[in-house]
Symmetry: C2
Subunit: 72 residues, 2 copies
Amino acid sequence: IPLFRTSRCVCIKISDQPVNLKSLEKLEVIPASQSCPQVEIIATMKKNGEKRCLNTKSKAVKNILKSISKER
Amino acid sequence: IPLFRTSRCVCIKISDQPVNLKSLEKLEVIPASQSCPQVEIIATMKKNGEKRCLNTKSKAVKNILKSISKER
């Protein structure tokens, strides 16, 4: 029996590149849970379908979330 | 050639049931685009994997987005 639960986070590397809402095909938000202690935000880019883990603490992400809740 | 582009939104019916972050497995946000004029938010429930389209204008959704950007 393992003493420590293995982390099952989706994101290994977090991108700090700026992203903007218009360049995103979709955004997946996975709340913190028993399997991963932190919120994860995965952006799928329109251009090439590339998935990128975003820094939940970054200003860009905060702005994206804000603009989503503002848009109609 | 069709005169009007057919709407390709993911959500047909929007749920107004309250949801809370802890009951969600994940949240998908699809920004407005040429194929669908409004932002769509699809929640996957932890309990049964059920997918539910959320009302982007609802207070519950605004609160969820807010709590995500606040959490660590």
